[in-house]
Amino acid sequence: MLKVISLLAAVIFWGLLSLTLPPDIFPGPLETVKALWGEIAGGRVGTDLVMTMLRVVGGLVLALLLGVPVGVLMGLNRRAEAVLDVWVMIGLTVPSLCYAIMAFMWFGLNEGAAIVAIAVTAAPSITINIWEGVKNVDTKLVAMARVFEAPRSTIVRRVLMPQIYPYVMASARFGLGIIWKITVLVELIGRPNGVGFKLFYWYQLADMRQVLAWTLLFTIIMLLIELAILKPIERRIFAWRPEVAV
């Protein structure tokens, strides 16, 4: 309920604020929605949205494939931790724009380069989450399982993995937050379609209605994914956890 009220308040605030500037430069919510509806009705959002989604998903999968093993290694092995922790910091520090430029220069202006740039940007923060998770593994539970003669594979699968899942989940969501943003940037500099491309296109034509319409579209889609897919998955996986009264 509070969520709805705060959203309404934000829309009203946006409307009021937009009155201070001419509508061509700062359109209000009504005009933005109208522009967005025009695009949707005209069938001009499908391809771009799908392409952006594919890049986001591809980038996330690759980022997890890179980030999770490194995080696990760092959590398990003190030497690996000592060597890699500097590199994770460096990876976090380099601006995502640099990764995008390097990827496009080295691998060409193609989907692969875009996905690599996206994944490399998100991987370090995923690594940090997993690293933390592995370090927090309750070794007392491992000792318990060993007393019950559990084989190593069972310990990994039934004692260690369930402890790390929450961190994988958190890092996927966290990574996704980064990936939405970097994807749009990557599309802007090196792709012929996608939400980022569209934003830049309309910006060059100085059409603020369209810029805001696409921003709104993108935001709504991301929120829907968060609420309709990620939250329910999380609730399902962690059903065993005590409810925290908020």
């Binding site: 007392k140 539970l141 000792a143 318990m144 399982a145 060993r146 007393v147 019950f148 003669e149 559990a150 084989p151 069972t154 039934r158 004692v159 369930p162 065993w240 956890r241 005590p242």
Partner: protein, 270 residues
């Protein structure tokens, strides 16, 4: 008869990361007979958990002999150590499948020990939904239902309120009298030791200081004044309860209670 546990000249030294060493178990000798209920009584930090970890095979780096025969080992830790993402029953199943107990026996084992500890109605509860006392009872069920020949218990009831702890101790004795497992029970609670044990070994600073047999006949009652008197003597002897070592001569009722210094007389197992 061959002892279920045979320990000879057991030494355990921890090496810190800076290279300094610390000997926590100093030449321990110990025989525990099959079916015996042994309590090891000692202040915290004297090496009780370290000894149990060696016996359980969790710690394989030590000098000397530590042989455990006489069946599978069950280990009840100070904390329940339940897997929080599994229900009570799921936790039992985890242990049963890890120990490769044939599936067709699971139900019988689970219902027997759940009933014995009064947990039959809680199979589908998650660990966070039951009280600490129930969680520890469930851990006891988990240790028992894999049918260990030897049960190692590390201050399993010290975190519980006295009323709950008392009930579980009584349950434990009932189960032991029925199944006659070999039990090594570690505690810093003298009353508990006197109530439970056939034999008490007092441990201090990584060595066994004193040994005694508990002459109280079974079945015992928790409020038996004999338990109380015996424990009072033990506590008095226990370096004023502060874990300070007591000269052997000051031990009470050496004759009456059968106290003996371990160095002079290591009793053979019953």
């Amino acid at each position: 008869m061959k002892p279920a546990i045979h320990v000879a000249s057991l030494r355990k030294t921890f090496t810190a990361r800076d290279g300094s060493t610390r000997t926590v178990l100093k030449n321990l000798d110990l025989d525990v007979g099959a079916g015996e209920f042994l309590c090891i009584l000692g202040p915290s930090g004297c090496g009780k958990s370290t000894l149990l970890n060696v016996l359980a095979g969790l710690d394989k780096v030590y000098d000397g002999t530590a042989d455990v025969s006489g069946g599978r080992i069950g280990y009840l830790f100070q904390e329940p150590r339940l897997l929080p993402w599994l229900t009570a029953e799921g936790n039992l199943d985890f242990a049963l499948s890890s120990c490769r107990v044939p599936t067709k026996r699971w139900e019988q084992l689970k219902s027997r020990y759940l009933a014995m500890t009064g947990l039959s109605d809680y199979r589908n509860y998650y660990p966070h939904q039951i009280s600490g006392g129930m969680a520890q009872r469930l851990a006891l069920v988990r240790a028992l239902c894999v049918e260990p020949g030897i049960l190692l218990m590390d201050e399993p009831f010290s975190g519980l309120d006295e009323i709950t702890a008392r009930r579980i101790r009584t349950d434990l004795l009932t189960i032991w009298e029925e199944t006659r497992k070999t039990i090594v029970f570690v505690t810093h609670n003298a009353y508990e030791a006197c109530f439970l044990a056939d034999r008490i070994l007092v441990m201090m600073g990584g060595a066994f200081e004193q040994e005694m047999r508990v002459p109280i006949p079974r079945p015992r009652s928790y409020d038996d004044s004999a338990v109380f008197e015996l424990s009072r003597d033990v506590i008095r002897a226990f370096g004023d309860g502060m874990g300070r070592p007591t000269p052997a001569g000051r031990w009470p009722g050496n004759v009456a209670h059968g106290w003996s210094a371990t160095s002079t007389a290591t009793l053979p197992p019953a």
